[in-house]
């Protein structure tokens, strides 16, 4: 396991988490410790084992194709930080 400080910045960027240099250094040390704990896993022979993604072997349910939800835009947008005329406002992304 060789997680560098640059990896920390890269992962923070992928996760859209702003991070100061100080925070990145603390995160680096803690992540190294945590991956030290996780490393025990690597030595286990798992050849031929099917990955288990879920506790029950069930397949996705299908439902009837009918309308179940009605428009509740105003109710749901009441929780938004910024809206205008029923639209969510974000900084301009296209010049």
């Amino acid at each position: 396991m060789s997680l560098s400080i640059n990896d920390v910045y890269k992962v923070a960027r992928l996760a859209r988490l702003g991070m100061t240099e100080q925070e990145a250094q603390t995160a680096h040390a803690q992540l190294l410790n945590i991956f030290g704990l996780i490393a025990e896993m690597q030595a286990v022979d798992t050849n031929g084992i099917t990955p288990m993604s879920h506790a029950q072997d069930i397949s996705q349910r299908l439902r009837e194709d009918r309308v179940t939800e009605h428009n509740q835009r105003e109710l749901f947008q009441a929780a938004a930080p910024q809206i205008k005329k029923g639209l969510y406002l974000v900084p301009q992304v296209i010049e």
Binding site: A12, L31, I38, A39, V44, Q56, V90
Partner: protein, 486 residues
């Protein structure tokens, strides 16, 4: 009244000995007096609770009642409840008013139970001490210098200190059982898929499961009857016949086979916890049970596997908090990416960010096979250990936690030490099995010890029977902390 079981409270309500409004006011009064000390609740809304209580009193007057009609229940602040502030213990959602009800909330509303308030919790249920909450730590009612456990620490403390009749919790790696053990109450995590996750704010979706927290197994059974049930809005909710979880409570335990995993009694288990657990096993033998030594050889890997899988799922689930549709938005930003990064950096606490970082890393290109896939393969090995074990025994027992409640701030700076406190509970979530914790004695310094009971898939009724019979011959579950008089 405060020491009454849910059945007794229900009888008192139906016989008009007390009204739901009076009972709700009794608890609200206690919360007003004690919450500044314990911090078990994040949000209390007297008006909304009393409106529900008044409606329950109308139902009671018309005799249109259910066992829980008019009973005040505390809801973990992870469940969306319409019109209630629902924070999940995070600054990210500190102003979020839920626009709909979680299935669990709907179920309680349907039977006329009263929502008494939203209980404190670790931020996004990530923590084992309730110290990651944006709203401050909860104190253990048994010792105010100790943690209540987490993540359902507020619910556990509220039940323990009689700040509610019962409560709900959620358990992803032990978050019902561990705080139940540390606060001396009973708590049950059902089989994955028994209780709908709809409207329960997601942490690690393949592990998250809601369950009841209360003072006795009998109370848990009544609560689970309300919480369980198929819900088409949760794609992993299981379509099963409705069960009455109280049906087996009074069965004798003659011939019960209890498996004791040697891994749960190895190095790391404190002497006072071991002693209490051994005494409770001896009690079970008196009740007619036999004890079988078993092994869960891969359980030692459950912490590494969990700390790959749970953060991976969390990093994906928490990507929805972008400061656009709901939740916190930073006041100052230069462009969209800057708004995302600042909103998330300021809105999430340290532990949540740490887990998002772990999850993003293990899912990133070049590491997926080595971490995520390897963890999923070992998850199957861990689940298979239980399948083998249940060929030899009916239930598995052991300690819920390696120690009694640790002190506030004791493990704060060392995430790895904090993670290790869930050593006995995590494997159950990985396998998707039901697990519970019941009070089983006290340590030398007066802190509660929890006995963990693990059952086979869908064996909740039997586990509740096993717990209830123990509670008929012991009184650990009736003990209450000092200094909770109002």
């Amino acid at each position: 009244m405060l020491n009454s079981s849910l059945l007794q409270l229900g009888a008192a309500l139906r016989s008009k000995e007390i009204s739901s409004v009076e009972l709700t006011q009794l608890y609200l009064h206690r919360i007003t007096a004690l919450n500044s000390k314990l911090n078990a609740y994040i949000t209390v809304n007297e008006e909304m609770s009393l409106a529900q209580a008044r409606a329950a009193d109308v139902q009671l007057a018309q005799s249109k009642t259910h066992a829980l009609t008019g009973i005040p229940v505390a809801q973990k602040d992870i469940f969306c409840a319409m019109g209630w502030r629902t924070t999940c213990g995070s600054k990210m959602l500190s102003d979020f008013i839920a626009p709909y009800d979680a299935h669990v909330i709907e179920q309680f509303n349907r039977v006329g139970a009263v929502n008494l308030g939203k209980t404190n919790m670790d931020e996004f249920a990530m923590g084992s001490s309730n110290e990651t909450s944006h709203f401050g730590n909860v104190k253990n009612p048994w010792n105010n210098n100790a943690v209540p456990g987490g993540s359902s620490g507020g619910s556990a403390a509220a039940v323990s200190a009689h700040l509610c009749a019962a409560a709900t919790g959620t358990d992803t790696g032990g978050s019902i059982r561990q705080p139940a053990a540390l606060c001396g109450i009973s708590g049950l995590k059902p089989t994955y898929g028994v209780v709908s996750r709809y409207g329960m704010i997601a942490f690690a979706s393949s592990l998250d499961q809601a369950g009841p927290m209360a003072r006795s197994a009998e109370d848990l059974a009544l609560l689970l009857n309300v919480m369980a049930g198929f819900d088409e809005r949760d794609s992993t909710s299981l379509q099963r016949e409705t069960e009455d979880y109280t049906r087996d409570l009074n069965k004798p335990l003659n011939g019960l086979r209890i498996g004791l995993p040697k891994e749960f009694f190895a190095a790391g288990l404190s002497a006072d916890v071991a002693q209490a657990i051994e005494a409770s096993i001896a009690e079970y033998k008196k009740l007619g049970a036999t004890v079988i030594d078993i092994s869960l050889p891969n359980s030692r890997l459950s912490i590494p596997v969990y700390y790959v899988l749970a953060p991976a799922e969390a990093s994906s689930n928490l990507s929805r908090y972008d400061g656009v549709r709901y939740g916190y938005r930073t006041p100052e930003y230069t462009n969209l990416a800057d708004m995302y990064e600042k909103s998330r950096a300021q809105g999430f606490g340290e532990e949540v960010k740490r887990r998002i970082m772990i999850g993003t890393y293990v899912l990133s290109h070049g590491y997926y096979d080595a971490y995520y896939l390897q963890a999923q393969k070992i998850r199957r090995l861990i689940a298979q250990d239980f399948v083998e074990a249940f060929k030899q025994c009916d239930v598995i027992m052991g300690p819920t936690t390696p120690t009694t409640a640790f002190n506030l701030a004791e493990k704060n700076d060392d995430p790895v030490q904090m993670y290790l406190s869930d050593i006995y509970t995590i494997a159950v979530n990985l396998a998707g099995l039901p697990g519970m914790s019941i009070p089983a004695g006290f340590s030398g310094n007066g802190l509660p010890v929890g006995l963990q009971i693990i059952g086979n898939y869908f064996d909740e009724a039997r586990m509740l029977n096993v717990a209830h019979q123990y509670q008929q011959v012991t009184d650990w579950h009736t003990r209450t902390p000092q200094h909770i008089e109002v």
